[in-house]
């Protein structure tokens, strides 16, 4: 792997990981909001 390619891969990989985590947080938020809505509806 040449230097410049490695540099690009490293920076892209970093953002894949960070944005992936942010996406994961969003999906968990969605789930919790739905659960709260269900609870409010139920009680």
């Amino acid at each position: 792997m040449k230097g410049i390619v490695a540099l690009k891969v490293a920076y892209i990989a970093t953002w894949v990981i960070q944005l992936g985590y942010i996406g994961y947080l969003f999906s968990r938020y969605k789930r919790v909001r739905e659960e709260i809505k269900d609870l409010k509806r139920g009680s």
Partner: protein, 229 residues
């Protein structure tokens, strides 16, 4: 999301953008390694941030064991998870850097290996939190967190010694190698930007945790009230 939060988010994104510019354009090209060395500006700040996050987890866990308040527990959960994310970045960028420079992916370099063990310890913490049943989760996790963090200096010393017995390339330069003064600004900018990102993520994860705690409490109440006794 209030105004202050939105402002902080915008500042974080701006900082990350500017820091990347500093690292990729402003920073000088390194003599021996060339442009690939710029990975350093992502690799090192991520490591420092991860370490600070794990330290916060340690403090939060101690506070939780002492005071048993849910906020401390939520902070512990959040900082551990975000810490693992940053730690993953370190472990991924390290080998990507090592490969073109030394032709090998991994060298059991003291700092990278300590990071690997740190990653393993905190992943095991997250696994314990996930699979633990009931209200004891927080206490058990806090205990494990203390063990884990106390282990860190021991791990580092052990691997340092191991490395002096079996030397091999050190990613990012040896202990003695200094940093050229013009490399400090991009390094610090990236550290600032990633620290701000860490704050954003921890706050988000903390809020998520408290929301989930609330939901669980509601479920427990409902179960107690709903079931005919």
């Amino acid at each position: 999301m209030n105004l202050l939060t939105k402002l902080f988010l915008v500042l974080t994104v701006a900082a990350l953008g500017y820091a990347a510019y500093e690292g990729l354009v402003v920073a000088p090209t390194e003599q021996t390694m060339g442009d690939v060395q710029r990975i350093f500006y992502y690799h090192v700040p991520s490591a420092w941030t991860a370490f600070l996050l794990f330290f916060s987890n340690f403090i939060a866990s101690i506070v939780y064991l002492a005071k048993r308040n849910a906020a401390a527990d939520a902070v512990a959960a959040a900082t551990a998870e975000v810490g693992v994310v940053f730690c993953t970045v370190v472990l991924v960028t390290g080998p990507i850097w090592a490969r073109p420079v030394w032709g090998i992916w991994w060298t059991w370099d003291a700092r990278l290996t300590t990071t690997l063990v740190l990653w393993l310890i905190y992943v095991s913490y997250l696994v314990l939190r996930r699979y633990s049943v009931g209200s004891q989760t927080s206490v058990l996790a806090a205990a494990l967190a203390i063990f884990g963090f106390v282990d860190v200096p021991i791990v580092y010393m052990t691997i340092r010694w191991f490395r002096t017995q079996h030397p091999s390339p050190v990613i990012g330069g040896g202990e003695g190698s200094g940093l050229h003064p013009s490399m400090w600004p991009p390094l610090l900018w990236n550290w600032l930007a990633f620290s701000m990102l860490a704050v954003v993520l921890v706050v988000a994860r903390y809020r998520l945790q408290t929301m989930e705690q609330e939901v669980e409490k509601e479920h427990a109440h409902a179960a107690l009230q709903g079931s005919p006794q």
